[in-house]
């Protein structure tokens, strides 16, 4: 087994001077070329974890190593966001050339590279279009092409398909799997779609909320390539899916109980409560 490309050890992060505990004691590794999904309920710190891996924010505790060093935003890491986040004043090709310039590619090579990448996501004819002239699914494809254009070693994806319709999502998942298997990039894929996580990834990291910590890490092994053979009907898929949903339902139940407890105790001012009681 090769050395991990991403390694997290006891990572913790708080916001608002420690009031909001976003992440606690997160430890796992991602190997080169591996596809790992992060799943968990809303607010469990998935986006925060991606930002930490990208080097956009630093963790409060623990250690993060990406390719053996503290993470630095740059061309070895690329992010795909939930909304495409294209620069609206640049053309589609211009948007890709923008990140190629950040990578330091000479100007003469940028247009050809941008067009090649657009071809890879099936948008070659739209190179000169502006982002607002594209549909949401097409914009998301450009976002993916932009991330792949810098030839990253690690691709970070934050619910990239969540805002799309089911059909587009299905097509893009397939394309993503094909691009991934051809390039051997390590992918960290955030989703809160359990099926999607099992379908795409080799490992699923399940997080639980408040504070965000690892609940379970599940290995997924289906015959590759998966885009040819839909594993969703296989018994292994069904049982894995059931298992993960059980864990999440447990979490939600725990969360609900906690919420009730907080509601019962949180809003009572005890000094006045006892005062009232002594009067009664």
């Amino acid at each position: 087994m090769s050395a991990p490309i991403i390694s997290l050890r006891h990572v913790g992060k708080s916001f608002k001077d420690g009031e909001v505990r976003a992440l606690e004691d997160i430890s796992f590794d991602v190997r080169p070329g591996e596809f790992v999904s992060l799943v968990g309920p809303s607010g469990c710190g998935k986006t925060t974890l991606l930002r930490i891996i990208n080097g956009l924010i630093a963790p409060d505790e623990g250690e993060v190593h990406v390719m053996g060093a503290a993470p630095q935003p740059g061309p070895d890491l690329a992010m795909v966001f939930q909304s495409a986040r294209l620069l609206p004043w640049l053309t589609v090709a211009g948007n890709i050339e923008f990140v190629l310039q950040l990578k330091g590619l000479p100007g003469s090579e940028r247009p050809a590279r941008a067009r090649a990448l657009l071809g890879a996501v099936g948008l070659r004819e739209f190179a000169e279009a502006f982002p607002h002239e594209l549909s949401g699914g097409m914009q998301q494809r450009v976002g993916l092409a932009r991330a792949l254009a810098v030839e990253p070693k690690v691709l970070l994806m934050d619910e990239p398909f969540a805002a799309l319709d089911a059909m587009t999502r299905e097509v893009l998942r397939k394309e993503l799997l094909q691009l991934w298997s051809r390039r051997g990039i390590a992918v960290v894929f955030v989703t809160h779609d359990i099926d999607e996580a099992i379908l795409l990834s080799q490992r699923v990291v399940l997080l639980r909320p408040r504070p965000g910590r690892i609940d379970e890490i599940v290995d997924v092994s289906f015959p590759e390539p998966r885009w040819q053979q839909d594993p969703r009907t296989s018994p292994a898929f069904v049982s894995m899916r059931e298992h993960l949903w059980d864990r999440i339902h447990d979490m939600v139940r725990d969360g609900a109980e906690l919420e009730e407890l907080a509601g019962a105790f949180g809003n009572v001012d005890w000094s006045t409560a006892t005062f009232h009681r002594s009067f009664l």
């Binding site: 740059g74 690329a78 986040r85 620069l87 609206p88 810098v150």
Partner: protein, 291 residues
């Protein structure tokens, strides 16, 4: 397929009187275009009627109140022809345009430059915010006596008056545009390794461009107002000077001839800047359309 085809002619042959009400949003293109033409025609027609009513009102006022209350529109036309042919109007327009354009260039360049600085360096923006606000809330006319003392009564002083009035809206719009640059786009560029300077010039400033342009549009309108005020209150010159001279001598036909030129000038300047705004900020307009 076949059913659809048989239906098409029925829709197309609906009597036009019902069409605007009965045809739903997804009706054929031709109908929408026709409706838009109808609406354009109606708007233009009503505008013509309003203009005619206004003109009729001027004639009526002239008949009732005499030449001092409202000059006869015929006299205004005659006076306009005279002023344009003897060069008075052209000279005034030239003097006013000099002040307007110098003032605008000065306020635009200084306003954008400082606005970019204040928006880019957050702390500097916070430090200067109360001063900018205080200056911006003071009516520009309040500074005219001081400007007269410092700069005199002639063109350079007038340019300073105009600059003083137009500078702050341009500055404030530029600063706000940059300070409120889209956080998501900034994070995107940062994630791909953009450094501070790149982030600023390639993401934040372009994102602020529409806001800067609306600042310029507001600034240009203020420049016209400021120029006339300066010409009225300082050494009389330009269109403002003609206005004052005619008003003082109760030559109301002459006065109205100048007012019409001022109206046309202001409208033209605003229209030109709105066009520029629409062209450069095209993507933002499209976003506002809901896509």
């Amino acid at each position: 397929m076949i059913e659809e085809r048989t239906e098409q002619p029925i829709v197309r042959h609906r009597p036009p009187a019902i069409a605007p009400v009965a045809v739903p949003m997804f009706a054929r293109k031709g109908n929408t275009a026709r409706r838009r033409r109808l609406e354009n025609g109606a708007v233009f027609g009503v505008q013509i009627i309003l203009a005619l009513l206004l003109l009729a009102g001027m004639y009526a006022l002239n008949a009732v109140g005499g030449n001092l209350v409202m000059p006869n529109p015929n006299d205004i036309v005659a006076e306009s022809v005279l002023m344009w042919s003897d060069g008075t109007m052209l000279k005034g327009l030239g003097e006013s345009l000099t002040v307007i354009s110098l003032g605008f260039l000065l306020s635009a360049s200084t306003g954008i430059f400082l606005g970019v600085l204040l928006g880019g360096f957050r702390v500097l923006g916070r430090v200067l915010d109360p001063f900018v606000n205080a200056m911006n809330s003071t009516p520009g006319a309040a500074f005219i006596p001081l400007i007269i003392v410092w700069f005199g009564l002639y063109t350079e002083a007038k340019v300073v008056v105009v600059w003083n009035a137009a500078f702050f809206p341009i500055l404030i719009n530029t600063t706000a545009g940059i300070a409120n640059a889209n956080k998501e786009l900034v994070e995107m560029a940062r994630a791909f390794g953009a450094k501070r300077a790149t982030l600023f010039w390639r993401v934040m400033v372009p994102d602020a461009l529409p806001s800067i342009l609306s600042g310029l549009r507001i600034g240009a309108a203020i420049c016209t107002v400021g120029t006339v005020i300066a010409e009225l209150t300082m050494a009389q010159s330009g269109l403002g000077g003609l206005l004052a001279a005619a008003g003082n001598r109760f030559q109301m036909d002459r006065y109205f001839a100048v007012v019409i030129v001022l109206m046309a000038l202001g409208t033209l300047i605003t229209a030109m800047l709105r066009l520029a705004e629409r062209r450069i900020g095209r993507w933002r307009v499209s976003l506002a359309d809901g896509r």
